[in-house]
C-alpha cells in the first residue's frame, strides 16, 4: 500500500475542506482499502469521516426516510421501518456481501463502490477506468460478469451494488454537501454515469463532494416488493443479473411498476419503456416477454456474457410472475 496522510474529520465542513486533490473519504473502507492494498487506488490523503454525525435513520416531513450516509448496511437492512415499508431495500442489502462486511459498509460508500471487473483490479492489465487510454482488457478477453446494456467501446464494466439497484427502483435521492459547503440533492438516476469515453468518471459528483444522506420518498401503498439475484454461488457473490421490483396491482391489471436491474450495466439500470409496456395491462407470459423484449432491445453480449441476455429475460419474467401471481405458460 502506498503511504498516505490520515486525517480525522469531526464535521462535514471540515471533511470537505480537507478533501482536496488526491484525497479520498474513508468510512467503512471495505472496498477502498481492498483496492489500496492492490494499488489500484493510491490516494495521498485519507479523510476519515466515521466520526461525523451521519448514522441516523429518520422520518422525513413528507413521510419518507432519511438515511444517514454512515448507516451501515446491517443496520439499514434490519431497521424496522425499512423492513416494513421498503422490503426490496432490506432484501437487496441482505443479498450482498457477508455479515462482517455489512457491519462495516455504509450507505454512502456502497453507492460509490467500484466495479469488480478483473481487469480494473489488476494493475498489470489494460483498463481505461484505472488508467485512461490504456484500453479495455475485458473487450475480447474474459467478460463473464460484464455489461450487456449501455456499455461503450472503452469500458464494459458493471456497477456491483445491490443496494443501489433497490434504491433506483425506489426513486431515492442523494443528499450531497459540496466543497463550498452548499448542500444539494441528486436523483439516484443522475448519480451514476454510463462509461462513454470517460469510464474513469463513474459519478456526477465533483471532487470534494460528500454524500451525507440518502432520501427515500414516502412508501408506496399496497405494493409487492422483491429483489431477485442470480449469481454463481448461493451466498457472498456479486449479481450476474438482479431485479428490484416494486409492483402494484389495480384489480386484475398492473397499476404501476418500478423495475431496476443490477449486473447489466455500468449503473443500476432502469428503463421507463419497460414499465410503460406493463402498466395498465393484464399480466400474462406474453406481456412479460414484451417487457423483456423492450428491456433487451439494444442488449449486446461480448462473448463470455452472452448468457446474460436470456438470463435477464428469465429473471425478469420470474419476478413478474411472482409479483402478479401469474402461472408460467405451458
Amino acid at each position: 500500500m502506498r503511504p498516505f496522510d490520515y486525517i480525522r474529520a469531526d464535521a462535514p465542513a471540515t471533511a470537505t475542506k480537507e478533501a482536496g486533490a488526491g484525497a479520498r473519504y474513508i468510512a467503512g473502507g471495505t472496498n477502498l482499502l481492498d483496492l489500496m492494498k492492490l494499488e489500484v487506488m493510491t490516494p495521498e490523503r485519507l479523510v476519515d469521516i466515521t466520526r461525523l454525525d451521519l448514522r441516523d435513520v429518520e422520518r422525513t416531513p413528507e413521510g419518507g426516510l432519511k438515511i444517514g450516509a454512515l448507516v451501515t448496511n446491517s443496520d439499514l437492512a434490519a431497521h424496522p421501518d425499512v423492513r416494513r415499508d421498503y422490503p426490496v431495500l432490506s432484501r437487496a442489502l441482505l443479498s450482498g456481501a457477508t455479515g462482517q462486511l455489512r457491519n462495516k459498509a455504509t450507505a454512502g460508500g456502497n453507492l460509490l463502490q467500484r466495479t469488480r471487473c478483473y481487469y480494473f483490479y489488476d494493475p498489470a492489465q489494460p483498463c481505461n477506468k484505472r488508467d485512461p487510454g490504456s484500453g479495455c482488457g475485458a473487450i475480447g478477453g474474459f467478460n463473464r460478469i460484464h455489461a450487456i446494456l449501455g456499455a461503450s467501446e472503452h469500458c464494459i464494466a458493471t456497477h456491483p451494488s445491490d443496494m443501489a439497484v433497490a434504491m433506483r427502483a425506489l426513486d431515492a435521492e442523494i443528499e450531497v454537501e459540496g466543497a463550498d459547503g452548499a448542500g444539494r440533492r441528486i436523483p439516484i438516476a443522475d448519480l451514476h454515469r454510463l462509461p462513454s469515453d470517460t469510464p474513469q468518471d463513474e459519478t456526477t459528483l465533483a471532487p470534494g463532494d460528500l454524500i451525507t444522506a440518502v432520501i427515500l420518498p414516502p412508501p408506496a401503498k399496497n405494493t409487492f416488493q422483491a429483489y431477485r439475484k442470480v449469481r454463481d454461488r448461493a451466498s457472498y457473490a456479486f449479481a450476474l443479473v438482479s431485479v428490484a421490483c416494486v409492483l402494484r396491482m389495480d384489480g386484475d391489471r398492473i397499476g404501476g411498476v418500478a423495475l431496476a436491474f443490477g449486473g447489466l450495466a455500468h449503473k443500476p439500470w432502469r428503463d421507463p419503456e419497460v414499465e410503460a409496456t406493463l402498466t395498465g395491462e393484464s399480466p400474462s407470459d406474453d406481456l412479460f416477454d414484451k417487457a423483456a423484449d423492450t428491456l433487451l432491445r439494444e442488449a449486446q453480449g461480448q462473448g463470455g456474457n452472452d448468457f446474460k441476455i436470456p438470463l435477464a429475460r428469465r429473471t425478469l419474467k420470474a419476478v413478474l410472475r411472482e409479483a402478479t401471481q401469474t402461472e408460467a405458460a405451458a
Binding site: P3, I26, D48, A78, R83, S90, G99, N103
Partner: protein, 171 residues
C-alpha cells in the same frame, strides 16, 4: 502516529504507520496472534473480531480508525481451561481440522447468534419480520463470510446450532 486501542478490556498505546490494518496491529504489534490472516482482502473471514460487539474483518480496516472502540479478539472470548461455550462446541463437534479458520469462525458465530436474537433477518429468512430460528440454512447463509478449506462445515454448523440453543435456553 500514536494510537490508543481498547483490546479485550486493556488499553494499549501503539506507535503505528497509518497504513497498519487493525489485524496487523493485533498480530504484529501486540502479539495477539489468535486472529488469523488468510486472504487479507475480506473474503475468508479468518481475521474476524468484534468491534463494539459487531463482527468485522480486521484486515479491511485501519487501526487508526478504531480509537475509542471496544475491540474483542478470540483471546478475549476464552482461554484454555476457561473456554467459551462455542469453543467447547467446536471441540465436541469436530468443527475444525487444521484450525486456521477457527478463531474467525468462533468470533463470527459469537456475534451472529446475537444478531439473530435481535431479530435481524437474513437473505434466506422467509419473512423480514418475527423471530429468527437458526436452521442449518440460516446458519450457512449468515456464516458465508467464513471459509473453511478443510470443509469442516458440518461440525461448525452443529457447534453453532448447539451454542445458539444453549444461549436461548439460558434466558
Amino acid at each position: 502516529m500514536e494510537i490508543t486501542l481498547d483490546i479485550n478490556g486493556d488499553r494499549q498505546v501503539l506507535d503505528l504507520d497509518p497504513r497498519t490494518s487493525l489485524l496487523d496491529a493485533l498480530r504484529h504489534h501486540l502479539g495477539l496472534t489468535g486472529s488469523k490472516k488468510g486472504c487479507d482482502h475480506g473474503q475468508c473471514g479468518a481475521c474476524t473480531i468484534l468491534v463494539n460487539g459487531r463482527r468485522i474483518n480486521s484486515c479491511l480496516t485501519l487501526a487508526a480508525m478504531h480509537e475509542d472502540d471496544e475491540i474483542t479478539t478470540i483471546e478475549g472470548i476464552g482461554r484454555p481451561g476457561h473456554l467459551a461455550p462455542l469453543q467447547e462446541g467446536f471441540v465436541r463437534h469436530d468443527g475444525f481440522q487444521c484450525g486456521y479458520c477457527t478463531p474467525g469462525q468462533i468470533m463470527s458465530a459469537t456475534a451472529m447468534i446475537e444478531e439473530a436474537r435481535e431479530g435481524w433477518p437474513s437473505y434466506v429468512s422467509p419473512s423480514l419480520e418475527g423471530d429468527i430460528e437458526l436452521s442449518d440454512e440460516e446458519i450457512a447463509e449468515r456464516m458465508s463470510g467464513n471459509l473453511c478449506r478443510c470443509a469442516a462445515y458440518t461440525g461448525i454448523v452443529q457447534a453453532i446450532r448447539e451454542a445458539a440453543e444453549t444461549r436461548e435456553a439460558a434466558e
